[in-house]
């Protein structure tokens, strides 16, 4: 096999992984690094459950070749908070009842994080949130409580930013 070394930072930790040229970032995250919070479904960038942050921006990890992310920094759902220290988005998703089966939720939360990070301090309208998360399919919720959660988190993040 034609393996080569990939240097990648995942959730702040450096990794050196031997990869095959056709492997996607999703495969590397799930199979080599063990970040199972990044989900797999369509593998064609249609559903959004595999979304991670690449240097802070939301991308579909299922169609990005791992070889293209040499030296990049990746954030997965495990990297933004843990059960003892939830990110405001994670907290709001639980509080607002935005989680049902939960399979799309890591991708949904990271999509929302990318959107909020791009617009620091802003309190987006519900329509803006709607548009921002439209690339991730959720079959359980009808999206309303997800929009509630993102709006709630945006308010809290904006408020804590204003205090600082």
């Amino acid at each position: 096999m034609n393996r080569k070394i990939l240097n990648i930072v995942v959730n702040g930790e450096s990794h050196q992984v031997l990869i095959e040229p056709h492997w996607t970032l999703l495969q590397v995250l799930r199979n080599e690094i063990g970040m199972m919070g990044t989900k797999e479904n369509c593998l064609e960038a249609e559903c959004g459950v595999c979304t991670v942050l690449l240097d802070g921006k939301a991308i579909n990890s299922c169609i990005l070749l791992a070889a293209q992310v040499e030296g990049c920094s990746v954030t997965t759902i495990e990297g933004i908070g843990d059960p003892e220290h939830l990110h405001p988005l994670q907290e709001a998703f639980i509080e607002c009842g935005a989680v049902q089966c939960g399979y799309c939720i890591p991708g949904m939360i990271l999509t929302a994080k990318s959107f909020l990070d791009e617009n620091p301090g802003c309190r987006p309208s519900r329509d803006e949130i709607r548009e921002a998360i439209a690339g991730t399919l959720c079959r359980c919720t009808g999206y309303r409580k997800i929009i509630d959660a993102v709006a709630t988190a945006a308010d809290r993040i904006a408020l804590s930013g204003a205090k600082q």
């Binding site: 056709h22 799930r30 970040m35 199972m36 919070g37 990044t38 989900k39 797999e40 479904n41 369509c42 593998l43 064609e44 249609e46 559903c47 459950v49 997965t76 759902i77 495990e78 908070g81 843990d82 059960p83 939830l86 988005l89 994670q90 998703f93 639980i94 509080e95 009842g97 989680v99 049902q100 089966c101 939960g102 399979y103 799309c104 939720i105 890591p106 939360i109 519900r126 949130i129 709607r130 548009e131 998360i133 439209a134 690339g135 991730t136 399919l137 959720c138 079959r139 359980c140 919720t141 009808g142 999206y143 309303r144 409580k145 997800i146 929009i147």
Partner: protein
Amino acid sequence: MSAHTHRVAGHRLPRRDGVGKVTGKHVYAADFKLPGMLYGRVLRSTRAHALIKKIDTSRAAAMAGVRGIITSADIPQIRYGTAVRDTTVFATDRALFTGHAIAAVAATSLEIAERALAAIEVEYEDLPPLFDPEEALKSDIRIHPDWETYKALPIISRNRNIAGQARIRVGDAEAAFAKAHKVYEHRFSTALQHPGYTEPRVATADWDANGIVTVWCNTQLPFDTQTTLAEILDLPAARVRVTVPGIGGGFGGKLRIGVEHFAALLARKTARPVKVMSTSEEELTAALPRQASIVLLKTAVDKEGHLLARSGRIIVDCGAYAGSGPGTAAIALQVMAGPYKTGALAFESIAVYTNKVHSGSFRAPAGPMANFAMECQIDMIAKDLGLDPLEMRLRNVVKEGDPGPSGEIHRSVSIEECLRKAADAIGWHDRNPEPGRGKGIACSWWMTTGGSSGVYVKINPDGSATLVSGAVEIGTGAITGAAQVLAEELSLDLTDINVTGVDTQAAPFDFGAQGSRTTFSVGNACLAAASELRRQMFELAAKQLEAPIEDMKLQDKHVVAGNKSISIAELARISRLAGGGLIAHGTAISPAPAYDPTRVQNHPLPVWNTPSYHAHAVDLSVDQATGKVTINRYVVAQDVGYAINPTYIEGQIEGGVAQGIGQALSEEIVYQDGCVMNANLTDYKMPTAMDVPEIESIIVECRSAAGPYGAKGVGEPPCIEPPAAIGNAIAAATGCWPNSLPMTAEKIAAAMQVQHS
């Protein structure tokens, strides 16, 4: 205990599995892996109907990394199925649809498995196919030439390509039609719809030294999967262990065996753990979608719009195997009767084989199909008679004590309240606020499926409780709801209830996460277990406190008798030393209500348990040039009996309506010449956040006699009415009824054009 004093039940508490799901720590079946695991893939037929002359696996078998290949020739020749035992693991001598499994490969990587599939040579000889269900009723072609040799439930009536046929007959419909003021006849059609769960069907299987196979999978029905696997593998059920780590949605699409059998058979063949996961393409070509259907409906009314008689026929296209088709078709008969008093009924259901994908029990099977026809026709009649559609419904809805279609008695009836609340909320008095904009309403009723549930509940030495159930939490919050009931009864907090994973080897039986029954039935089993635990604790406390049992109650995690008390934790510790611990087995079964069997023929679900009532109202605009529909507002008034957790009930309503909007406007697995034309998630159009309005839920609570604290089933109903409510609103906005689902912009624009010309 009266419901308004509840501390835990009835409150908007966060679900027990939420933190795991938002942090990525919740393990789904798709995340499961074992050391040395192989990857399995399935070769699928490229022909819709063909004899299989030869399968040559030799080239594939010789490939490096390929560890095992199986075809029909390598496995026990078993036919399985719920209503009709017509299904095989692989195509036997003939392929019955494009996507039919032909062979399966296990290899050291997915890529190798895929290359091996491409190296398998299959020689076909095409047979004339049947794609149209009405043609299949008349044709001499037999999709199952040996259908008479198949076993089936005794209730199922079959004939040639008909996999099941049921009837409901009430009164003299013919006489009523003869003397009616007016008679209306319409034809409707609905399309194949994928359940759309985000986690594909997946299973990992491994055989242990004792010959027991364990399957980690995302089934909604672990015990049904266990039984079916045991049949397929030709083993006693106890040698099949099914466990569900976590499940990314189901909606009825994961009720019946999906890929578990491929994983188990490949693991047996290779003596290695094997994981098989469906691809998107397989999901859309070879999963268990909602059947397409044709509904013919005839209704007689008097001058005031009272329903005198309805007759009709639903033809449900099962695809290549019966699957849940016979039951689904039969359920449509109760849906077509609706929550209405009708003088006479003469309904017939037909489930028919075609050379297309076999289908399943997507959420409220038959509900939206039959309701679309039934409720759109009510509006058509109202318009013709010059009646307000709401008023026409209110004149006909059932009242407390009225008979239902099977002769059962309607109890805890709330349909009028639901209709009025939905209409008020949508602003019914102003139904055409502007040109191209209209409002629609539709209502229905639906069962809470019966079946039994068992739970074990154990009190831990810290005073918390562990709930062991065989019911899968598929995302609805049902197990959180059941845990709220348990916590309530034991004077614990919801956070004191630990829920174990589902494992058929360890958990008591449960009929499964289906039919709007999980919270209802597991909740009832929790009530029973809590009652038994109280008995055990009170007996133990009687000795400790030297107080009579009659004076005892549970309060704030203590057994209290007058001014004496002892904590539940202390009792659990004492019981551990002296009595093997505090543990109870609680069970629940909802017996079917009394009905009149002469009304119902060959119907696997002849009468509905604990029905719920609901109404939907929608306000939408239609682009006059393109036919594109924009939903402005959507309101649901649903009777849930008692709202155990309003947050997750709203979640069920919002999610169900979103699926219904998809079915109404955009979702269809499109077939052309036996091939699916849109087997990907770009062309199969499920609603995104841009397509679903903010659904407004009105929770109506009309207590049932049978559910925990009066609860009724919640999960399925929200997807029933959207196609009809939206269809009626489109008609209000445009003056024309699109009578086929999905009501795409193209169909609406075409209908408007016909009307204008």
